[in-house]
Symmetry: C2
Subunit: 194 residues, 2 copies
Amino acid sequence: MDHSIIIQHTQKFIQLTAEEQAYFLSLLQEKRLNRKAFFLRENEVCNSVAFVLSGCLRAYSVDEQGFEHILQFAPQNWWITDMFSVLSGKPAHLNIDALEDSEILILGKKEQEQLYLDVPKFERYFRILIENSTVASRQRVLDNLELSAKERYAKFCSTYPTLINTIPQKQVAAYIGVTPEFLSKMKAEYLREL
Amino acid sequence: MDHSIIIQHTQKFIQLTAEEQAYFLSLLQEKRLNRKAFFLRENEVCNSVAFVLSGCLRAYSVDEQGFEHILQFAPQNWWITDMFSVLSGKPAHLNIDALEDSEILILGKKEQEQLYLDVPKFERYFRILIENSTVASRQRVLDNLELSAKERYAKFCSTYPTLINTIPQKQVAAYIGVTPEFLSKMKAEYLREL
DNA sequence: CGCGACGTTGATTTGCCTCAACGATTGTGG
DNA sequence: CCACAATCGTTGAGGCAAATCAACGTCGCG
């Protein structure tokens, strides 16, 4: 696996010495996830965070009628976890699995806390990531309140241009909050307009 | 104004000496906001965070058709700001105003950064708050995806029992994402069932 | 080959919106 | 202190966006 990817990612936010890089990598556990394999199942307690080296993961919940609703996609260079479970120590509400064969690096909660103590720069790294995550999820709340299904689809296409061509369309539907049938009809109408 | 309220709030998360408390308070600027007065207007750059001592604020955006969509209520003991604008230095998308006569304490961005340097415990305080905020807004995204309007209303009532009786019903509608007319009809139906 | 997952399309239904009219309450200026 | 406007909540008739249900074609894969 190519671990340089995660180092490159940290370098967008903080400067690390070679020793700090090596130490950081030593705390990470690598793992392959085949398509449909789980990183986390609901009702398990989650005590780690995953970084995606290749492939794509998703976090979703399943409602009473068995429908999946996707909270987050995590393609290359994204972190993913159930923050509620990690912070509270309670069982997760989310499922996290792989949409395609993927390679991930896992950072345990204990290792993360130790990392903060040994290399405080990482506090900054993760703080920036969580700040961005908060801004993004708040914006998504507003998008769901003010945009129509068509507008949400258009916004998704412009925000995640690479994902549209790689993941099944029904996964996009489960993210923007419409049925797969309706998304299909929207696309047909959209293309007819061109 | 009763500044002890904010000290009590910090004490839920961190332990402060008398000196640290006094220093913290010295960085805060107090302000009265009458009903309908703004803390922030969209297109302004926001460079501070507000803590509500009394009253209630709200953060909302206005769509193309002039409809308001509420992202957050901030009653007593809540912090509120446009995090996107504070972090990026770009113009705010949100409006923040007072639903009733309110008293707030304002912490400027510079003062906050100085506070982190002088009393690192506050990094922990604000980190915990932002973590909780992330978990909450992510959960709200899922709620909007999987719950019906009736269920969202029921959840709002159980999550914010005090707010239901103090704020106008149309504000609740703008938060859960329905028209005021439809919320009225839902309530009528709800009461008829009892 | 045959099965399962996916996408498409059509007919029908429904949850929620739109528009309009009407009291009740609040607040405000004369 | 009253008159009036403004805001709010309620109710009803009708409309639309999106869901539901069902049928069918396609593709990848064991």
